[in-house]
């Protein structure tokens, strides 16, 4: 089940009502949340619940052993168990097919043909997210940053909490687990802000992402757009992926607030960034900080000389690309970001404290957006050949020629919605989220309008699957 389905909107009030009924027993609330989360996930494919349960069991045991042991070698061994289990699971389900394919093509390049067994491995939804979450727990216990969980239900709920289970935000045990280990208060403020975030997330997904997808799909599909139309298609994809993923995150964070649980923010208006450093502090924050804390810093960070630091940055970007999928196009996407980020990194530009955005920053913002869009071409294309074809088409057709049929049904309404969206994003970025949603527009009519507009678009056009469900 995903958030934009009638099943979810029946499921959520039911779970909330039961949660409310159990309000004086937080342990029972945990049990309810765990059952609801497994039901939510099992709606897709109940078989893969075994993976979540397995990951939970392994890391729960590893956590307790890590806390009980003192000998460094033993502790490392137990951490290795967690790393091997979680990364092994990820490698098998996500990368095995890719690795076999690369192995066969490497031999084929020297004239040796192989007949590999056909591997049709289904990618379990959300595996990249919850494995990172459990890994962070074991690593933090190993580093003695947190005490191991003693309550298996609370720990399992931390791993499987349904709003963020399949597409994040990737939570840290240091932040989410303590919330599972005590009573939670659902206040009027948390309900208000939660519902507001959910409605805003639905708007972003249904109105912006799904409408932009029509243009992106046409440009990247068989319509053969070129020149300015192809550029529009790429920008449309930039809007689609932002609306889609940040919309999902907003719904997840908003849903969690209805249960009195606070999740971390995942997006901070990334397209207003003035350089790539700022972009990566604003885009998919939970994943990027994960890579910073559990990959970049353990590799040595910037403490071992500039050359090593540049190498570490490159590794983080390449692994980040590979995290999205076993395909060279994702690796290239990461490499493009690394190549554009490293000069900024060498100048120390990524460490400058953020200052208030001014109109004089507009050229920098546009340039950063252009670089990000260029990289999105690799991310969205079917494969590397397709990406290069798209880039070539962006360079063609700028002179006279037949314009493609770019006016999709309802394009005027989309243009108005896009303008309103840009304005609201700008207001939140410039004056703060709280100013807009909690002071300027407090009433329930804002949510009602957001839902009505989402219904208008959602009922007129085909719904698209959330992009990050594929990762």
């Amino acid at each position: 089940m995903h958030f934009i389905t009638s099943a979810f909107w029946a499921f959520l009030p039911t779970v909330l009502a039961l949660y409310w009924a159990l309000r004086v027993h937080w342990r029972w609330q945990n049990a309810l949340l765990l059952a609801a989360s497994y039901f939510f996930y099992g709606w897709w494919d109940a078989r893969f619940l075994l993976l979540i349960a397995g990951s939970t069991a392994v890391d729960f045991v590893v956590g307790r052993r890590l806390a009980a042991l003192e000998a460094p070698r033993s502790r490392k061994a137990w951490l290795g168990v967690s790393l091997a289990f979680n990364l092994g699971m990820l490698a098998w389900f996500k990368y095995a097919g890719f690795l076999v394919e690369q192995w066969v093509s490497a031999w084929a390049s020297v004239g040796v043909t192989m007949d590999p067994m056909t591997m049709q491995i289904i990618l379990p939804v959300g595996i990249s997210f919850y494995t990172f979450q459990t890994l962070s727990y074991s690593i933090d216990v190993y580093r003695r940053r947190i005490e191991p969980a003693q309550d298996v239900v609370a720990f399992a709920t931390y791993v499987a909490f349904f709003p963020q289970l399949v597409a994040g935000p990737i939570e840290r045990a240091t932040r989410l687990l303590p919330q599972m280990l005590g009573p939670r208060s659902v206040t009027e403020t948390s309900v208000r802000s939660g519902l507001r975030l959910m409605c805003w997330g639905v708007f972003k997904k249904v109105v912006i992402a799904d409408s932009a997808a029509v243009y992106a799909n046409a440009a990247f599909g068989e319509a053969g757009w070129s020149g300015p139309y192809m550029v529009v298609g790429v920008v449309a994809f930039a809007l689609q992926i932002y609306g889609d993923f940040s919309g999902y995150s907003d719904i997840a964070i908003g849903t969690a607030r209805l249960f009195g649980i606070r999740l971390r923010s995942n997006f901070r208006f990334p397209y207003f960034s003035r350089d790539l450093g700022e972009f990566w502090r604003r885009w998919h924050v939970s994943l990027n900080t994960w890579f910073r804390d559990y990959l970049y810093i353990p590799l040595g960070g910037s403490r071992q000389g500039r050359g090593r630091a540049v190498f570490n940055v490159a590794v983080v970007f390449l692994v980040s690309g590979l995290w999205h999928g076993a395909d060279w196009k994702f690796v290239t996407w990461g490499a493009v970001h690394a190549a554009c980020f490293v000069p900024l990194f060498l100048r120390g530009g990524n460490r400058r404290p953020e200052q208030v955005w001014r109109w004089s920053d507009l050229p920098k913002t546009l340039w950063t957006f252009a670089v990000v869009c260029f990289a999105w071409v690799f991310f969205r294309a079917d494969d590397m050949g397709h990406a290069l074809d798209v880039l070539a088409r962006m360079g063609q057709g700028w002179t006279a020629g037949d314009a493609p049929d770019w006016k999709m049904p309802g394009y005027e309404a989309f243009a108005w919605a896009l303008a309103a969206f840009a304005l609201l994003e700008w207001a939140q970025f410039r004056y703060g989220v709280r100013w807009l949603w909690r002071r300027a527009w407090r009433g329930p009519w804002v949510e009602a309008v957001l839902i009505a507009v989402s219904l208008f678009f959602g009922l007129r056009q085909a719904s698209q699957e959330f992009i990050y469900f594929a990762f």
């Binding site: 009030p13 209805l258 009505a452």
Partner: protein
């Protein structure tokens, strides 16, 4: 925790208010179109086939893949928009077996379908939706709910007018593969909602003393050769039974020997095909004193 009840209810109330406003606004627009249609003598209802009917002066209330329930609702709204000055004498309704096939019945169950045609039709029905439609027990609950919700599509116009035909015709080796449900199952028995809606349409026409023409286009042989013969016979019997009423005429051209050059696809006509239908329809209209 109380906010968990109050706030969602407040939001829901806001959505309902916006729905009401949209419904009133769009309903007024639809009523204006119906009122205008009452100034003419002929009105066409149906689906995409209505576009192949050569009646350039007649307003058309038809949309591709339009089902019979929404057609009944449009006709009902059309009746309510009329008054004593209405000049309408003849209503032409395009029908064909597809309106009773499993696909149509599935649409009428209210389930969302990938082709989006059914969804578009619901958007056009939303504005004319009345309380009487919502309490009609024969309409499935899921369909009622979706009709209600789809007012939010804010489809502004349901009427089309004018007429144009296409020259494009199918190739001589044309073929179309029907689904097994259409070929092997007695589908007409299962078309409960569609049959009920057809009955409602017939009763509505009777109550208004209109001449109701059930117009069935020629079908390409690739359809007729595949469709379940028993189901097709039941379907034709039902239309003939409806036409026993003195003011209802069944123009049965399903097996009309139209050559391939008259079809755009297995059930749509080009200029030549439209002319063949007009040759059958125009004498009828002239008989009722109407010049097409």
């Amino acid at each position: 925790m109380r906010a968990l009840i109050h706030r969602p209810l407040a939001i829901l109330a806001g959505v309902c208010l916006l729905w009401g406003a949209a419904h009133l606004w769009m309903g007024r627009g639809a009523d204006a179109e119906f009122e205008q249609a009452h100034r003419g003598e002929v009105v066409v209802f149906g689906d995409s086939h209505a576009g192949d009917v050569r009646l350039p002066q007649a307003p058309r209330f038809a949309f591709p893949a339009q089902d019979l329930v929404s057609t009944w609702m449009w006709m009902d709204a059309f009746v309510r928009a009329g008054d004593a000055d209405s000049k309408v004498k003849v209503v032409v309704l395009t029908v064909w077996p597809s309106k009773f096939l499993p696909l149509a019945e599935r649409r009428l169950s209210g389930r969302i379908q990938e082709d989006r045609w059914g969804q578009s039709v619901l958007g056009r029905v939303g504005p004319v939706l009345g309380f009487r439609h919502m309490v009609e027990p024969a309409v499935p609950w899921r369909l009622r709910w979706r009709m209600l919700l789809n007012t939010f599509q804010l489809r502004s116009s349901i009427r089309t007018s004018g007429w144009d035909c296409q020259d494009r015709s199918i190739p001589s080796d044309y073929g179309f593969k029907m689904g097994t449900l259409v070929q092997e199952a007695p589908w007409f028995d299962g078309a409960k909602v569609s049959r009920w809606a057809l009955g409602q349409i017939v009763r509505l026409a009777e109550s208004q003393s209109w001449e109701l023409v059930l117009l069935e286009h020629p079908m390409h042989r690739s359809f007729l050769d595949q469709v379940h013969p028993g189901a097709m016979a039941d379907y034709e019997s039902a239309l003939k039974a409806a036409a026993e009423h003195p003011r209802i005429t069944y123009v049965d051209m399903a097996r009309f020997p139209l050559p391939d050059s008259g079809f755009r696809d297995y059930h749509h006509l080009n200029c030549e095909g439209s002319a063949a239908v007009a040759d059958r329809l125009e004498p009828l209209l002239e008989g009722w004193g109407i010049s097409p």
